[in-house]
């Protein structure tokens, strides 16, 4: 139905896709998996007309096509359902369903009675019963997604691309969604299904394509692939692979006998985290393992007060931290290096100097006046210590390379003398040399007595950098690897394990 051959797409500095072949067949649910940066979203965007490929061909219904806008792709019958529902929340269900193709009566006026009837029928046809008069936003996310699906079906979509549709759904809603997807499959629609939840993939999908670093590493029927091998492929590791120590710049273990400095108990955020508990000692690096969407970043953000929690306690050095306040967390000595460096970390328009001094400003001021000599001293110290390469302290951070941006952020936090450092993907998107430097730095910081919580999709980095690894899956801790068990094999096994009592809600 829809296929691409020899597809390549390059962004400045990054090869997002290279020589990718992918085919979605009619009447088949095709899983598309891969870790962050594997090229999934780029592939989807090429399929749906958001990006144009540099090289390669897109074939749709037997003929080569070239979509210039998402709208064109949609009109040709390729619908995309995004994680964030792309409908108009304030408009009613029926209006959303029929926007741009409302049934019209005399005088060209919209025939609302017919529209509501048809909307009701269309939704019923998918086994969904909602009041079509209600504004879309009053529906749950799951129901909204159904409406998006119904719209896709109603515009006679022949290919439906779903990007992590279940990430914010209740188990029951997931069940209904699957019913609808199966119905679509029976109608001969080609479904491309992106998800990280392995159990869902095995329940629903017929074929699977695994992407890694912009290349297809596997494609074929899903039933023939066992879980462990799938995890191994996604993470890019071989099971039982013998490898030489020292690929990364981590030195190994640290002194881990001290009293715990960070204790987290029972963190729960509806739909995202379930009763997550962990603790870190000074000088210890604790890894947070798991696939994308397993709740790693949410855990870090919740600890740093950037994400409101339903329940849970965070204690630093014996003192409880007020929840939901980044300022309180920072005062307690918790610093978070966020995953999304560009939008949540750096101030791209401000200078290196401003960025480093930002969080520490109150401490560097007297009567609200900034003590510039002290700022200069600190900035200089950290630029030297972290080997930040910039034209000068006054260069805009937005103009630096990713690695140097990351170091600037680290400097911002280190200037506060934190007790706990939460590092969310500290080496993502930075080049090899800088990566090694950042890894060495993490090591040094732990040696200096900092408690570090490390999140990384790079398994090797995670395993070698951490003294212990807490493995998350679907927002809950499934295992903790300690001592000799801190190996990639064990990590993959923990992720791939079929949880007991999986079938219930």
């Amino acid at each position: 139905m829809l296929s691409v051959t020899q597809l390549s797409k390059t962004f400045p500095g990054v090869r997002a896709l290279s020589d990718v072949d992918f085919t979605a067949r009619a009447g088949e649910v095709h899983a598309l998996v891969g870790e962050n940066g594997a090229g999934k979203s780029t592939l989807i965007k090429v399929l749906t007309g958001v990006y144009r490929p540099d090289r390669g061909e897109v074939t749709y219904d037997g003929a080569p096509v070239r979509f210039v806008t998402p709208l064109q792709a949609q009109q040709a019958g390729i619908s995309t359902i995004y994680q964030e529902v792309n409908l108009v929340p304030l408009m009613s269900v029926a209006r959303n369903l029929f926007l741009g193709r409302e049934p019209r009566g005399r005088l060209g006026l919209i025939d609302f009675r017919r529209m509501h009837r048809e909307a009701d029928e269309a939704l019923r046809g998918l086994g969904i019963r909602v009041d079509v008069h209600r504004p879309l936003r009053e529906l749950g996310v799951g129901a909204q997604q159904m409406v998006a699906l119904a719209r896709a079906v109603a515009v006679d979509a022949r290919v439906v691309v779903m990007d992590e549709p279940t990430s914010s759904l209740e188990p029951r809603e997931v069940h209904t969604l699957f019913e609808v997807i199966r119905m679509l499959r029976e109608r001969g629609v080609a479904v491309v299904y992106v998800s990280h939840r392995m159990d869902e993939l095995y329940e629903l999908c017929d074929r699977i394509t695994v992407l890694r670093d912009g290349r297809v590493v596997h494609t074929g029927p899903l039933a023939e692939l066992d879980r462990l091998r799938l995890v191994a492929m996604m993470l890019g590791r071989e099971i039982g692979e013998v490898r030489a120590e020292g690929m990364t710049k981590f030195s190994g273990s640290h002194d881990t006998d001290a009293q715990q400095v960070l204790t987290v108990t029972g963190l729960t955020i509806r739909h995202r985290l379930h009763d997550v508990s962990l603790s870190v000692r000074p000088g210890e690096v604790v890894g947070l393992g798991g696939l994308l969407g397993s709740g790693r970043s949410e855990t870090a953000k919740a600890i740093a007060g950037a994400l409101p929690t339903d329940t849970g306690r965070v204690v630093v050095a014996g003192v409880p931290v007020r929840a939901g306040s980044t300022a309180a967390a920072i005062r307690a000595g918790i610093s978070l290096l966020p995953e999304d460096r560009k939008s949540e970390g750096i101030m791209p328009g401000l200078s290196v100097r401003e960025n480093i001094a930002l969080a520490a400003l109150p401490g560097l001021s007297r009567f609200g006046l900034v003590d510039d000599t002290r700022v200069d001293r600190i900035v200089e110290t950290f630029m030297k210590r972290l080997r930040i390469k910039a034209a000068g302290a006054h260069q805009k951070v937005g103009e630096l390379s990713g690695g140097n941006q990351q170091k600037v952020l680290l400097a911002r936090w280190l200037a506060l003398h934190p007790k706990v450092l939460l590092l969310d993907e500290p080496t993502r998107g930075i080049d090899v040399g800088a990566k090694a430097e950042v890894q060495t730095l993490i090591d040094e910081l732990a040696d200096d007595g900092l408690a570090v919580l490390l999140i990384s999709s790079d398994t090797e980095e995670l395993i070698e950098g951490s003294d212990r690894v807490v493995v998350l899956k679907d927002g809950a801790v499934v295992r903790e690897l300690t001592g000799d068990a801190v190996t990639e094999d064990e990590l993959m096994r923990a992720i791939a394990a079929v949880p007991a009592g999986e079938s219930d809600d």
Binding site: P12, A304, A306, T326, A327, A329, I330, R331, L336, P338, S343, E344, G345, I346, M347, P348, G349, L350, E354, A357, L358, A359, L361, P362, S365, G368, L369, V370, D372, G398, R412
Partner: protein, 320 residues
């Protein structure tokens, strides 16, 4: 995305644009000055420069506060009404002495700022909308307090309005002082830097533990207080309180001065020098048109064109 590639594809154009944004306003002022030196009779006189300085002072003072608001990716539409409110209060409390009255007026401006800031920072109303409400109510309140034009006879205020030291009018001195103060606040204080950081990236500022709400409220308090000061000074100069027309369209002039001065509407940056030059540019433009016998209608149209051009030029930087 297309904008991005476009910018990258033509670095020369991007550099030109940046130069234009950074120095265009100074060039504009220079060109207008040279033009007037050459073609405008009686332009080069101390008296004329004094007049220009006195006229630009209130706009500039308001623009300084506006620059702070815009630096945090906001805007303050209530400044004109705050000026009106200040002038009403000034003549109302004149009985208690001019300085008490002026203090009351400035305090009122700060209170309006607190209201604006609270709506924006705590309730989460968009800045345009929040300050719009106070723009409507503020002018009304000013008129309620003082229904019509009233002459202000006070020797101290008169001296403030038309006096001078060493030939430099008080008004110009105060404006210059406030400009320097604002520049100092922006560059040297914790508050100034935090405000810019918030304007540059609000989510990052929050994650960095900055007191986002407090800083925002304070920014609008500054803007309100500065507008009130401008109102007091304008009253002193005119020797009359006119709550109906004082400060009307002031928000527009102030925004123009700020934007023409190279402060991007997208926040994260405040150019005090540029703002001074921007206010001067508009003042000179008006003067030039008037001195060459072009009617006020032309001035308004010209100002409209300058705003659109300035925003257009600043636009590309705003998008990252």
């Amino acid at each position: 995305m297309t904008e991005l590639t476009l910018g990258r594809g033509t670095p020369d154009r991007a550099r030109l644009l940046r130069l234009l944004q950074d120095y265009g306003v100074y060039t504009g002022v220079l060109v207008l000055l040279l033009f007037n030196f050459a073609f405008t009779p009686h332009f080069v006189s101390a008296e004329n420069f004094r007049t220009q300085a006195v006229q630009v002072a209130p706009v500039l003072i308001v623009a300084l506060g506006m620059a702070l608001a815009i630096g945090t990716e906001g805007v303050d539409l209530s400044v004109g009404s705050v000026m009106a409110l200040a002038t009403s209060l000034l003549s109302l409390y004149l009985g208690y002495g001019p300085w008490t009255a002026a203090l009351v007026a400035v305090l009122a401006g700060a209170v309006v700022g607190v209201a604006n800031g609270a709506l924006i920072a705590f309730v989460g109303v968009q800045p345009i909308v929040a300050t719009l409400a106070l723009m409507v109510a503020g002018r009304g309140l000013a008129l309620v307090l003082l229904p019509q034009l009233k002459d202000v006879h006070d020797p101290d205020l008169a001296a403030l309005g038309s006096g001078a030291v060493l030939g430099v009018p008080y008004l110009a001195l105060i404006a210059a002082l406030l400009a320097v103060l604002t520049a100092f606040v922006v560059r040297r204080t914790t508050f100034g830097r935090q405000a810019l950081a918030i304007g540059d990236s609000r989510p990052a500022a929050r994650l960095a533990g900055l007191p986002v709400r407090r800083v925002l409220v304070l920014v609008y308090v500054c803007s309100g207080a500065l507008a009130a000061i401008a109102g007091v000074l304008a009253t002193a100069r005119l020797a009359a309180s006119d709550p109906t027309s004082l400060g009307s369209l002031m928000e527009l002039s102030a925004i123009t001065a700020v934007v023409v001065g190279g402060t991007p509407l997208s926040g994260g940056r405040v150019r005090v020098g540029g703002t001074v030059a921007g206010a001067t540019l508009i003042q000179l433009l008006t003067t030039t048109l008037i001195k060459h016998d072009l009617p006020p209608s032309w001035t308004q149209i010209a100002q409209a064109v300058v705003i659109v051009l300035a925003v257009y030029a600043a636009r590309e930087r705003g998008r990252r």
